[in-house]
Symmetry: D2
Subunit: 378 residues, 4 copies
Amino acid sequence: MSYRSLGIGLVGTGFMGRAHAIALRSVGGVFAAVPPPRLVHVVDADAGRAGQAAEELGFLRHGDDWQALLEDPDVDAVSICTPNHLHHEMAMAALAAGKHVWCEKPLALTVDEAAGLAAAAADSGRAHLVGFNYAVNPLLSLAREILSSGEIGEPVAFSGRYYEDYMADPAVPWSWRCDRSLAGSGALADLGSHLVHLLETLLGPVETVTGHVSTAVAARQDPVTGAMRAVENEDIASAHARLASGVPATLDISRVASGYKCGLAFDLFCSRGALRFDQERMNELQLFEAGQRPGRDGFRRLLAGPAHPDYAAFNPAPGHGLGYNDLKVIEARNFLCAAMEGRAAWPDFSDGLRVQRVMDAIERSAAAGQAVRVEANE
Amino acid sequence: MSYRSLGIGLVGTGFMGRAHAIALRSVGGVFAAVPPPRLVHVVDADAGRAGQAAEELGFLRHGDDWQALLEDPDVDAVSICTPNHLHHEMAMAALAAGKHVWCEKPLALTVDEAAGLAAAAADSGRAHLVGFNYAVNPLLSLAREILSSGEIGEPVAFSGRYYEDYMADPAVPWSWRCDRSLAGSGALADLGSHLVHLLETLLGPVETVTGHVSTAVAARQDPVTGAMRAVENEDIASAHARLASGVPATLDISRVASGYKCGLAFDLFCSRGALRFDQERMNELQLFEAGQRPGRDGFRRLLAGPAHPDYAAFNPAPGHGLGYNDLKVIEARNFLCAAMEGRAAWPDFSDGLRVQRVMDAIERSAAAGQAVRVEANE
Amino acid sequence: MSYRSLGIGLVGTGFMGRAHAIALRSVGGVFAAVPPPRLVHVVDADAGRAGQAAEELGFLRHGDDWQALLEDPDVDAVSICTPNHLHHEMAMAALAAGKHVWCEKPLALTVDEAAGLAAAAADSGRAHLVGFNYAVNPLLSLAREILSSGEIGEPVAFSGRYYEDYMADPAVPWSWRCDRSLAGSGALADLGSHLVHLLETLLGPVETVTGHVSTAVAARQDPVTGAMRAVENEDIASAHARLASGVPATLDISRVASGYKCGLAFDLFCSRGALRFDQERMNELQLFEAGQRPGRDGFRRLLAGPAHPDYAAFNPAPGHGLGYNDLKVIEARNFLCAAMEGRAAWPDFSDGLRVQRVMDAIERSAAAGQAVRVEANE
Amino acid sequence: MSYRSLGIGLVGTGFMGRAHAIALRSVGGVFAAVPPPRLVHVVDADAGRAGQAAEELGFLRHGDDWQALLEDPDVDAVSICTPNHLHHEMAMAALAAGKHVWCEKPLALTVDEAAGLAAAAADSGRAHLVGFNYAVNPLLSLAREILSSGEIGEPVAFSGRYYEDYMADPAVPWSWRCDRSLAGSGALADLGSHLVHLLETLLGPVETVTGHVSTAVAARQDPVTGAMRAVENEDIASAHARLASGVPATLDISRVASGYKCGLAFDLFCSRGALRFDQERMNELQLFEAGQRPGRDGFRRLLAGPAHPDYAAFNPAPGHGLGYNDLKVIEARNFLCAAMEGRAAWPDFSDGLRVQRVMDAIERSAAAGQAVRVEANE
């Protein structure tokens, strides 16, 4: 298959669908190597919303039938931006229809679903990408370069947190996020999936985990019925992980972490240095290099700039600030280039399956009260 | 004049031209109230670059003749993203051709030029906007709301800095930025214009200034001839200003400020509180409210979120980070809405003229060794 | 027993012994309520060092015989500032001799030792205090006030870290700290003891723990023999804890955490707010109060000041900065006042025993691979 | 004259007097090279307070007659910790009595007074020191080392601020600080004196200044009479300074800077790097070194540690935090060593005179509306 430009189908026009579309409209202007894709077809369960989105975002066609979209021959690649529980069915169908697939995270609700997707994707010969957007930050690409260069030695330990407070107030009403059949796990799926992905991106596969989960607010008011309704998944999850490399890691995840808005953060300790990152200051990476002159060492604040991967495409000047939406543009580039060039995208469905396996192991460990081994992808 | 959608002409396809185009492609998806503009015509002095930009950014026509672009009847509005010394001629012609004009900063090289533009713009009945992008940050809109609400009392003093280090290294070669006929003043025009605009946006017009300028690196190597060549404008400028309201302000501006990449920052002290901002952490505003319980006061870090002006259009979740390019989208919205609705844009050419007057007064004061009064716009 | 002023005996004249002596010399001037103690007798294994310390610090008598010091009738209270493995014997003897005892942390090497000390101390009727100096920080006293006032609701979760890098470099030689018989555990005893104490101070007793330990540098060079020698205790320890109140906590401790110098830090999440603290910025406490106006919430940086417990004795002005040695002055006040007034000091030997029990449980859990219950003090 | 140990007389037992006494009690224990001084005689206008201080701080004699103290033959050195307007008379008398003199800042109310003191001090052969305590911070000694080593090149520009908010609230009553005859200037004398001293310490003498002063709160309520009373000196002062070396500097000083508690801060830009400091985080110095690998530069946070001047005397471990009172101990060491060794102390009365000259020039410039030359010390 060869393309001059990819035709895009978008499923779902909420915040995330719009973020995909805006990124797809920008990507050709930002990255000169990417032929601008054609926005062909957009669908939403609400046909009116789909029509409005088509006009605002510049899609040629719109409707409320995602299967029709998959049959549209002008659609080469599909963005799946629907609620979590629909990812599996839609992505399977999209792969079956021969489309490249960009699916939002979490890839699926269960390991079985994710394994099915990863297998189908591997067999499809199409590009497939999971929307772990934080990991494509130029400063995290820099972090990977620093690690692989050996300039700060070998990894010694990792400590990661992902704190948000969107459910900290007990008065926040019950929602689909509290429903295991719609959301899967709680903080773990919504926030922890990013953290686990980041950990494996930086340090390779997790081998064993010991997990703990708890629900701080046991029941919340149903906004429809007014009745109190049980929260079926965890508000807080934490884990000790041992990587295949032997490096120990701790993970702490909470959706009831008052005061934090996007607190995805880590310390990565190495034998001759360290890295610190905090998504709330996503344009900064803290680098410590051991072995400076006495009295001259300390964490150094690197501000994102054109010397870092991908940044220069956005801005020729350092320190001018990328935002969340720019990460989506990088993600779009990853997806489109992989699709055009017939090679694997990053992060792909097998990465999504890895994350699902680790999250599942954390939940199983928490239930069993002992360490659990994470299965390897085949 | 009424429009369903504006046709855009873009002059200049460097970084800033691309930033305008990307913003114009995104603005309809971000702000539902804005009909997506049509990207009609792009020109660049280098016709090949114009063609490439047209393809990457989705313009219908391209060329190397900006006057032809102004004659294009499908072009309703023009973005001027050329070097500083071309702003005046092009913007005058664009207004004369009946176009709405979005011009990059600084508006002009001299007060006379800026005054001519402001007068022509006022007479034109068209929308006109100067690209002081930092000021449209949701957190600075919040700052204006906080000030006007009186919740932290009356302004007492302002201290502003804009530090960058792009010319800190004496080995940085001579460039057009060092040439008064091409750049106008130095750090003052490039950086100070933003700071002066921000000051007047927050606190109203400056009435008198006492200024100081100096050139840290007197000569730089000409990259063409290899010879040392005099730097004709200042590396460092500072000023004491007194506002019409009587509030004192200090301004400190440098392009040789080692370590700073985008250090536009201020302290704004009021009678019952204070605000602090730093563009290098553009998603944070520090708010101090006096009168808390003893032992409970302190600067509070507000992270940009959907409760702040314009943010929700980008992201429904707080703390997820806007970037430089998002500011350009807000600016595009300001421009397009004004043009569509036949009302004044913000910040407009009269604001650009005000800034030019203050910068000019700083230079005159530095030369005269005494305070200088800033002329009012008519 | 009643005193006009206490006579002090000091055992050990290294850094910590000097810190005690300096604090004891200052405490009467800082806290008007404390009659200045008399520095009576100082001993060190090296008699010459004892003599020098006596002169520099103003002790009346000196020597190398700690038992003689205990027999000195002018000594009412003893500071024990010797290596860890001597604490138990000396503190037992001091209590037996009827002295008040200020013992450095960790209180002992084992739970048995600590339990013996706590029992003897309880029976003695004398004041006893363990040197968990970080916890007496005015801002942590404030944290306790905030918690107990209920102003930020009920505790939801705690995440604590204590990172230092003094053994991060594999070239750091083997020392007594690597020897289990002299140091007990590794990072856990040296750093973790402070963190566990802080956790229990803020949130009450730990009920169960799941622990993990690892040694990043398995062997280090013996500085005497030049041979590589096994490190007998852990470089890194982490734990999940469940408090008696049901609140979950995570602890992460490392002495190989490159870049950190005194990284004792925590997040304490409550139902209506949160607290953050970092010992490297010991004069700051971050307070988040939920329920602010939309767009006005965020972490507020409280700078230590006279509105906070104990600060005003040092300085009438806020923000002027306390240091490590000032914490020792507060500790001295706690000790001396308790001794003078015949009441319990804080933190006392039973607190030290609690900490020992939790650390022991973490090690036992790590060995057993499952959660372990922490025994209660009788 | 030779001493085994100096006898100390202290005049004034408020906060600052106590700070001196506590430092003098500690200095021998902290700095092994300093023979502990003998606290001989303390006086206060209130004899009862003097008696209480004598007991709490360990002085042998006390009273309310400072002239009697000066006649005390056991007093070798005098600490003057009285209100500003008394400094001149007392310090002159102390020098005349042959005492070494440690005088709090500002040295005097006027240039004439300061010049008289500097001359008398120079003639006396005694040690004399002015209490510019912030400048003796180990990290600022490090800053001086870095500057003089040339490792970050030549100075290019300095920007300094000193912000506090102790008079920000208009309801703060009138006090002696508002009275020119008792306080001299306002923010300038109280806060600016530290900043000017720091500037000259780092970069050498100021040659010309252009100053601006303003009073934000024109009248305050007299706490005795209840009537409104004019504030006779400035709340806010700012200046542009040109150093003898040609380097430009800006100074901004305010006692109505809401939210700041001890905001003495500067940026010092050099040709190959920069330094940043903020007294509210007094254990941190930010160092920028140009010329790192691309993408690896940034400000590095140096935490105070034993590799920095004077720190190791307080603590063998880095990052453990010095406080305000520790700075006074270093100051005491500077004073006592100079006195014992018959050499000049730092900062001495000639430094105090320099500061007075610069402050005076700022005020004169503000009145004249033009730049003013700072007289050199003879």
